[in-house]
């Protein structure tokens, strides 16, 4: 059972199949603290992507020989559920998942103060429940929020977004069908306070000029994702503050 490939991905008015403009991101929704057992957790929906991230740690490392004497070791597992894609995917880790686990780990580690917790491990789990292109970026975005939710001290949040080229036009945040049929897809992750690109990959074909434009487009996307991450973290705690403000007002009224 496979999808029929659409005729055109972008029409003559530069409107994409899902109605977006070329430089428009899919709507993002992030919820914080969704899992009871994990030390930190978050859930993201970006277009049709549905991804869960959970953090355990810092905690003792098992097996012990993996511990580092001067800092915490970050371990990351990016995994796709068998039902997350059009054709059922075997639950066994694929080579792609192995590569993505590595690049995601290398992408988030610079943001964490691992040196504060020697001989421990911080375990990060990213589960893709439903996939529609750009899962590693959405996974990084939600994982960063989960790390903050766990109370792990961080230099900054890491935000990620992909940009690329589809039917000759440079676009932001490609869906699965745009990635498969397009000319280039470039996932990028950014840590604003250090002006740091911590993840950068590309497959496809871009001239030098196109490449620069696509990087700048992706950075724009990262900025937008960053705003939503911050709002999500604030939203979890603002409720507490509001109830207090209401109470104080009510008490003032009674006097």
């Amino acid at each position: 059972m496979s999808q029929k490939k659409p005729e055109k991905l972008i029409d003559e008015n530069d409107v994409r199949l899902d109605g977006r403009k070329l430089d428009e991101m899919r709507p993002i929704k992030i919820e914080v603290g969704v899992l009871g057992n994990a030390d930190g957790s978050a859930y993201i929906e970006q277009g049709k992507n549905k991804i869960l991230a959970a953090v355990y740690g810092p905690r003792e490392v098992h097996p012990k020989h993996l511990a580092l004497p001067d800092r915490a070791v970050l371990r990351c597992r990016y995994h796709m559920a068998p039902f997350s894609v059009e054709e059922r995917k075997s639950p066994a880790p694929s080579r792609r998942e192995l590569e993505l686990s590595k690049v995601i780990r290398e992408c988030l580690e610079p943001s964490i103060f691992t040196e504060y917790y020697p001989r421990t491990s911080i375990d990060l789990f990213i589960e893709v429940l439903q996939a529609d292109g750009g899962t590693r970026c959405a996974g990084i975005t939600v994982a960063s929020v989960a790390l903050a939710d766990a109370g792990i001290p961080m230099r900054d949040l890491v935000s990620a977004c992909a940009a690329g080229k589809v039917e000759g036009r440079l676009v932001l945040d490609l869906t699965d069908v745009e990635d498969k049929a397009g000319e280039a897809d470039m996932p990028l992750a950014y840590m604003p306070s250090a002006n740091a690109i911590t993840l950068l990959q590309m497959d496809g074909m871009l001239t030098g000029e196109e490449f620069e434009q696509v990087v700048n487009l992706a950075l724009e996307g990262c900025k937008q994702a960053g705003q939503i991450q911050k709002e999500a973290l604030r939203a979890k705690y603002v409720v507490v503050k509001e109830t207090e403000a209401e109470k104080e007002e009510a008490e003032a009224g009674e006097e």
């Binding site: 590569e99 290398e106 690109i197 990959q201 497959d203």
Partner: protein, 261 residues
Amino acid sequence: MASRVRQKRVAQLITHGKRLDGRGLTDYREVQVEAGLIERAEGSARVRLGKTEVLVGVKFEMGEPFPDTPNEGVLTVNAELVPLASPTFEPGPPDENSVELARVVDRGIRESKAIATEELCIEPGKKVFVVFVDVYVLNHDGNLIDASCLAALAALLNTKMFNYEVKEGEVKIKPGYKPLPIRNYPVAVTFAKFNDKLVVDPWLEEEQVMDARLTMTVEKDGKICAIQKGGYGYFTAEQVFEASKIAQQKAEEQRKLVVKE
């Protein structure tokens, strides 16, 4: 693993624009390419990049095409970090490093459409040639990616397919060979970052001290067809753009070592 003192020296020199082995910041180590040394393989090549040594073998099999590309041959790239290549390589199933290496080499070949896969179709929708590119790392002295990509390219250029005809649904081998149709020549250029300095073709000791690495694969017309950032550090956007320009230039130089016009 190099001593602390030596590691410091390596990093210090680079901040002053020099390297321990005397190279300029954008110089490659000496390259030696030897093709066709494994006769049993359909194609093979060995590349020595400084002391890093990689052997690539290409083999053919017949198999089914992928459903979304019914008339095209299939490319599979695998990499093995053989234990004899380094005290840090352990025997066992492919780990994340060998998987990453294989996928980066694969990306360069696949995205540049280096192999004319439409010419590998035996029976549309049913039977195609599967090209196995096996990367075998023999000695690890840094920058396995560039050495492996170069060796893979040389091996593919060296690859010969047997002539055949299809009779009554069966593939019959005919005498003679023809070269594997190659249409592009992707070359990977890897950078190591040390604070604000970028260095091309890091060797092992530089890799142990670098902040991060960035690989850009460039095809014959100067377009970038694959990028992979690795390591725990980061790059600024300016450094990424600087790297892309240097990569295009160095790729052209390196390509000449393998592709004889």
